[in-house]
């Protein structure tokens, strides 16, 4: 909502002072200032001029030559980049020597060999609005004004300040100049009052307008008034310039007055061409399912039962309540008689229609938040009639005022103690009442409580808490003493959260960079991985490439590797901790959402992935980590293992299927593992036990076995451990050899075994016995010969 200082002053003349201070006061009242513009300064030199001639520039297409008369009867040639003028138009003109509001001085200069003797001005160049579509055309507003008249006089401009305020959804009142003025006056402690409009000239007569309010839950109040003698034409300059400042383009008198009243008082209104409303009769009701009408924008709209309509006497819809009028009764240049509507609509009903029809407007924004159903409606009606009276039109017949359901505004009982308890303040009831009265609430002390009547311009305000908020706002948030709660709760991270941090630290130590891809995939990404193509779709994706929720971290990581490879960043080690969203059972409302961990190594293969996995498992003390060769979607068929922890599957490790890598534009091998992090960290883990360090010497022996390729090394190690017994304290695989000296389909696995006892030095015989037992055990179990 934009407001002008001069307009605010019509309601509270004492508003004034430093512009920045006023802005701070507005912000402190919850009307955050988004932009401040000081207007009407530096326009002294700008005068009214007439366009005498327009002709092409001989050497340029983007500028034309304009002859203007700036009041001395002479034709001045100007080069101008705008093409929206016609001969005879009146425009603001900056003669040579003018200093523009932005500081630029206008000089006589040549543009492509043609002299330019000044500048034709746009509204933006004058700081009078953001309309930069072309030169400001004042032909209608300034008709009859002498050429050469200073533009400040033509437009009735004064030094002014324009604020652009952010108005929250609970402040329907602040979507009007008067409402902002009420708040600001209260904040500054200066008086606020509505100017009394003069008694409108009213022509008594038979009722030209009838209204049937058929659904009281839709329309809380419906005012209608016939106006006669309306003549088309432009609005006066002062009104046009105010509308322009507030972001409304002046159109014609009726439309402009309609907008002016809405901006000033917050009351949206609608005008019908009375001649096109049979018998001036309106029926206000809910729409029939499938009912259609063509709205003002020429679009045919299909309605549902939740929409409200205004229908004519034949029950044909001629407008959508609170949203948009119909084309059939639109005002035209021939209109002389007008039916003026001012209504109060049920906010949820309007919100539903706006959302469904995607039709937002200044009017619907006010109805959605809850307009004022009280005296302000009559005031707005009187203001409209007053403004249009200047054009010779007048109200005819009585004001129709139909009433439906409006919110209950009986006083509510509030407890000052409770409000102090919520705010942390120590105000007494009378102080609270004073703050409330300053913004139009009525507050009457009853014992140690207050009876508060909430004004009709605050639809959203109904409860004691709402009242507390108003007290806080007017008391000033900045005045509230700051304290810190002294809870008896110890903070901390859960064991899961601690372990997850540990995972990150271990992986960073292993040289992995943490990535954070967005969790969206393109359709087909999962299929390209050979994964089930069952990702849940987004209903309203921004782009097709991000329209499916991931079920695996793999596509995102492959894209990250491809991206880095394409930027020649060398080998990368990446990891990610993020959610995947798996389809869940039909009785589940939400997807099966899990936190996963993925590690992707473009500098190595399956063994590197296992090495990282093992160091992580060791850090987390995952019990009994086992890798079992398997085949899995997206994974290399002969280089993949299932990751088992304490007998439970937690994920896969190995290499990405080279075909999949290729489809994602990744070259070289990708070592990979992905774990269900939630299950892994919440499962059994961390059970470490102290074993005293032996003070006795250890003995090492090396053994190499020739083992079939079918037998995993992990199984050989398992057999060695089993046969060696508890004296084996360390076992390392230190060589793997395949070659001519080894039987085909076999390899030699060389292990170093360290034996040690806690209580004595082992004898050679003891070690020898173990050695023999290991050789025999491995041979018998795995058909493996000692090499």
């Amino acid at each position: 909502m934009k407001v002008l200082l001069s307009w605010l002053q019509e309601f509270a003349p004492d508003i004034g002072g430093d512009v920045d201070d006023l802005g701070d006061t507005l912000s402190a009242l919850g009307l955050a200032v988004e932009d401040t513009e000081v207007m009407g300064e530096g326009l002294e030199g700008i005068v009214l001029a007439e366009v005498l001639d327009l002709r092409p520039h001989p050497n340029a297409d983007r500028i034309q030559l304009v002859d203007v008369d700036a009041g001395d009867g002479q034709a001045l040639q100007v080069c101008c980049g705008a093409f929206n003028m016609t001969v005879g138009d009146l425009i603001p003109f900056a003669p040579i020597g003018t200093v523009m509001p932005n500081g630029m001085e206008i000089a006589r200069r040549k543009m492509r060999d043609e002299w330019s003797n000044g500048m034709c001005c746009s509204a933006q160049e004058l700081g009078l609005g953001h309309d930069h579509d072309g030169i400001m055309i004042l032909t209608d507003e300034a008709a009859g004004t002498d050429l050469g008249t200073p533009i400040v006089d033509v437009l009735g401009l004064q030094h002014d300040v324009l604020w652009d305020l952010e108005v929250n959804a609970n402040r329907p009142d602040a979507l009007s100049v008067a409402g902002v003025a009420r708040d600001l006056a209260a904040g500054l402690g200066v008086p606020f009052a509505f100017p009394e409009p003069p008694e409108p000239s009213r022509c008594e007569g038979a009722g030209l307008v009838r209204v049937e309010l058929l659904d009281p839950t839709l329309g809380g109040r419906f005012l209608a008034q016939a106006l006669q003698g309306v003549t088309p034409g432009a609005s006066p300059a002062w009104m046009a310039s105010r509308l322009r400042a507030l972001g409304q383009r002046p159109i014609n008198r009726i439309v402009d007055i309609s907008n002016y009243v809405m901006l000033e008082l917050g009351q949206p209104n609608h005008t019908y061409d009375l001649a096109k409303v049979p018998e001036g009769h309106l029926r206000v009701r809910r729409a029939v399912e499938g009912e259609t009408l063509i709205t003002l924008d020429g679009v045919e709209r299909t309605l549902t039962r939740t929409d409200g309509v205004i229908a004519d006497i034949h029950d044909r819809a001629i407008g959508i309540a609170g949203v948009m009028g119909g084309a059939s009764t639109e005002i035209s240049d021939d209109t002389t008689d007008v039916l003026l509507e001012m209504a109060w609509w049920d906010p949820p009903s309007i919100s539903r229609s706006v959302r469904r029809l995607q039709l937002r407007s200044e009017a619907s924004a006010r109805y959605q938040r809850g307009a004022d159903w009280g005296l302000n409606m009559e005031r707005a009606m009187a203001r409209f009639v007053q403004l249009i009276a200047d054009t010779g039109a007048q109200a005819v017949g009585p004001l129709v005022d139909e009433r439906g359901d409006t919110p209950d505004r009986s006083p509510i009982r509030v407890r000052p103690a409770r409000i102090n308890g919520l705010l942390g303040t120590g105000l007494d009831g009378e102080e609270m009442a004073g703050h409330l009265r300053s913004i139009g609430f009525e507050a009457t002390p009853v014992d140690d409580q207050l009876d508060v009547t909430i004004p009709t311009w605050r639809w959203d305000t109904n409860t004691e808490t709402d009242v507390a908020e108003e007290v806080a706002r007017m008391y000033g948030y900045a005045n509230i003493v700051r304290t810190v709660p002294r809870g008896e709760v110890a903070g901390g991270l859960t064991t899961y959260q601690q372990a997850r941090r540990q995972v990150r630290d271990v992986l960073v130590g292993a040289g992995c960079d943490e990535t954070f891809p967005m969790p969206f995939l393109a359709p087909g990404d999962l299929a390209r991985c050979g994964l089930p193509d069952d990702g849940i779709g987004l209903s309203n994706p921004l782009v097709a490439e991000e329209s499916v929720l991931r079920t695996s971290l793999l596509p995102g990581q492959l894209k990250a590797i491809a991206y880095n490879q394409s930027h020649r960043s060398g080998p990368v080690r990446l990891f990610e901790i993020g959610h995947v969203y798996l389809p869940s059972g039909p009785d589940q409302e939400l997807p099966d959402e899990r936190e996963q961990l993925a590690v992707a190594l473009s500098d190595g293969g399956a063994h590197d992935a296992v090495a990282v996995l093992e160091v992580l498992a060791d850090a987390l003390a995952l019990p009994n980590l086992r890798l079992t060769a398997t085949e899995a979607p997206a994974m290399h068929p002969t280089r993949t293992a299932q990751v088992m922890v304490a007998g439970q599957t937690r994920g896969v490790v190995g290499e990405v299927d080279p075909r999949v890598s290729e489809l994602f534009g990744v070259s070289g091998r990708v070592g990979w593992f992905e774990l269900d992090l939630g299950a892994t960290l919440d499962g059994p883990r961390g059970n470490r036990r102290y074993r005293p360090v032996s003070k006795h010497p250890s003995s090492d022996i090396d053994l190499a076995f020739v083992v079939s390729d079918e037998v995993p090394a992990a199984e050989v190690a398992g057999q060695i451990r089993k046969a060696a017994g508890s004296l084996l304290v360390d076992l390392v695989l230190f060589d793997v050899f395949r070659g001519a000296t080894i039987e085909a389909g076999h390899r030699s696995l060389a292990y170093r075994l360290r034996f040690q006892a806690a209580d004595r030095t082992l004898t050679d015989d003891e070690v020898g016995e173990r050695r023999a037992a290991v050789i025999e055990g491995v041979r018998d179990a795995l058909d493996a010969a000692l090499r």
């Binding site: 959804a169 930027h567 939400l590």
Partner: protein, 332 residues
């Protein structure tokens, strides 16, 4: 035959000086002090002398032996030092000739910011709560006092997913659903922060991402006031941004809090920067979670995590946070 001790010692000194290795010195030591050395032989012959002479000759011999022992020991360790020195010299290394540096990994900027925030709030006595990223309309809106028709719903620019009835399941548009989930299962007092990913239909550009990160705080306890909220924000701002940074609250509106506020932090030039929203938890929200608003009160606050990272490092394009370019990731 009488051994000329002076000449013998002079010979030994000459030989020791000529020795070039420790082994040479050991050989000399054997030659001069070993069992078959002239000194040992002379010692054996002492017995033949008369007692007076024996004593003085003995003293002289012992003196000579001692002097030779010292001589060889000294020369030996001198040569050992030299040998060690030349060995070390041969090992001279240019420490800047590093062929295999250790590559460390890097925590993502968002993780770093999130961890710091969590740590500050843990220090203030908060626990960290988490929740799902896909949510129902109940948790994302209705329980938060945003009914189906509420105009505020439009402002959330929600991304819906194809599950259930249209617009019934969505990517959470804020972390506030975690408030509801926490209050549903936990009896007050509640002191939590809920960091996590949130989603809006914002087209990705230099300052927007459709997936971004927020942190939400919730306190429910007896007698919690708006003053407590202002003080908590202030304490956090000092701890996170530094003691010189001030905070302020401005009235605002959120359906799930009342009174509501925006909170700003001061910049060095004296201007204010809007950081997030906050307020006293709306009684309807408490009731929706089965908490009696007459017994318990609380506040909630929330703000963006990504923006803090963007501010701290003055990133000119927020998309770097999801591009996963290692040239970016490795800077932090």
């Amino acid at each position: 035959m009488e051994l000329d001790l002076d000449a013998h010692l002079a010979d030994a000194e000459k030989a020791a000086a000529a020795a070039s290795t420790e082994a040479d010195v050991r050989a000399l030591s054997a030659e001069y002090l070993g069992k078959k050395s002239q000194l040992k032989a002379a010692k054996k012959q002492l017995g033949a002398l008369d007692p007076d002479e024996r004593r003085s000759a003995g003293l002289r011999l012992n003196d000579a032996i001692e002097r030779l022992e010292t001589l060889f020991e000294h020369r030996g360790s001198q040569l050992a030092d030299e040998a060690r020195r030349s060995q070390l010299e041969a090992e001279r290394l240019d420490l800047t000739e590093l062929l295999h540096p250790i590559e460390r990994g890097h925590l993502h900027l968002v993780t770093q910011a999130r961890d710091r925030l969590e740590d500050v709030f843990v220090g203030m006595g908060y626990e960290v709560a988490e929740g799902p990223e896909v949510e129902t309309a109940w948790y994302n809106f209705e329980a938060l006092n945003i009914p189906e028709w509420h105009p505020a719903r439009g402002s959330f620019d929600t991304i819906f997913v194809d599950l259930g009835e249209p617009e019934s399941v969505m990517l959470r548009s804020h972390t506030s659903p975690v408030q509801i989930r926490t209050m549903e299962v936990q009896e007050p007092p509640i002191y939590i922060v809920a960091p996590g990913r949130t989603f809006r239909t914002d087209t990705a550009d230099a300052t927007h991402l459709p997936a971004f990160n927020q942190i939400e705080g919730l306190v429910i306890d007896r007698g919690i006031t708006l003053g407590d909220l202002a003080g908590t924000i202030d304490t956090f701002v000092h701890a996170f941004f530094g003691g010189e940074v001030r905070s302020r609250l401005r009235p605002s509106y959120f359906p799930f809090t009342e009174p509501s506020a925006e909170f700003d932090i001061s910049r060095p030039d004296g201007s204010w920067l809007e950081l997030g929203g906050c307020g006293m938890v709306h009684p309807n929200v408490l009731r929706n979670c089965g908490i009696d608003p007459d017994r318990w009160q609380g506040f909630a606050f929330g703000f963006g995590i990504d923006r803090l990272a963007v501010m701290r490092y003055q990133l000119d394009d927020i998309r770097e946070l999801v591009n996963n370019d290692v040239r970016f990731l490795r800077q932090f």
